[in-house]
Point group: C2
Chain length 164, copies 2
């Protein structure tokens, strides 16, 4: 079973960086629409999107936000942290097949609140910044190692209908 | 087929409000973990979470963010808008069964950028504010009506394993 380990507050240094990668799939568009309720056709309907300003389906901006959240929760500072805030600027649309990298960089630490401010930048395979912003997270003080939860299989039925 | 209609820039007024409701289910926890990659057991593992500071599984904070995104994309200003930015402060954990209401309120309009700044507040069934922040969206200038995409069925296999 995969393990997730944290970086305790005391071990985090200004300038520390961490990365998290994910490529947008058609499946992600459907699952994000399902879990949020955003069934806007620009994300889902191939014909509709081909006539739009984007020329094809685009990812939900907040899906990119969800990758930042995952990076903070699983990589730096990792499990046990408390997510306090997030700022996001959506700069460039994300399309199916785009390989995104979340880049985290510690900007500052606050000894009083125990909060860590982290720059959160997401770039695509062309090195374009698609989303930028910053987060504040309160890392766990001690060392934490947890088992990554093994998700059950998620199946999209009538998948051929989506290809349309 | 459900229709989604927008509110064009010219028709939006400061003080306008709109609402979007959703209740957190176990299914949402699994789908959000699947689509973001955040398999932190605090969201997914009943036994692990029962020993945590929260006492039970909690929703991903950014899942609440995804509801704000859905509210903006489907209710106000609705389809055709361009999502420019979002600020989020995570205030109260969300638990399975919590009935959330996203409340949108127009704070200001910018004639030059055509951007609309919207307060984005999410409250639970106890009227606690769980997430607050604000968004900037550029609404479509003209009237837009689109067919809401009919999602294929999403099935979680071995669902009993999740009950554990």
């Amino acid at each position: 079973m995969d393990k997730l380990a944290n970086i305790p507050y005391a071990q985090i240094r200004e300038g520390d960086t961490a990365f998290y990668k994910r490529t947008l799939t058609e499946r992600d568009l459907i699952l994000f629409a399902s879990v949020s309720g955003d069934c806007n056709p620009i994300h889902l309907d191939r014909d509709f999107a081909s006539e739009s300003r984007f020329g094809e389906r685009v990812g939900h901006g907040m899906w990119v936000g969800s990758l930042i959240s995952a990076a903070l929760a699983t990589v730096m500072p990792g499990p046990g942290g408390i997510y306090r805030s997030q700022e996001l600027k959506f700069l460039v649309p994300v399309k199916i097949g785009d390989a995104l990298t979340v880049k985290l960089e510690v900007l500052s630490k606050c000894a009083r609140t125990r909060g860590v401010t982290i720059a959160t930048i997401v770039v695509n395979q062309h090195d374009q910044c698609v989303v930028r912003g910053k987060a504040v997270v309160i890392p766990e003080e001690g060392a934490v190692t947890v088992d990554s939860f093994q998700l059950p299989e998620v199946a999209i039925k009538a998948e051929e209908a989506v290809q349309g």
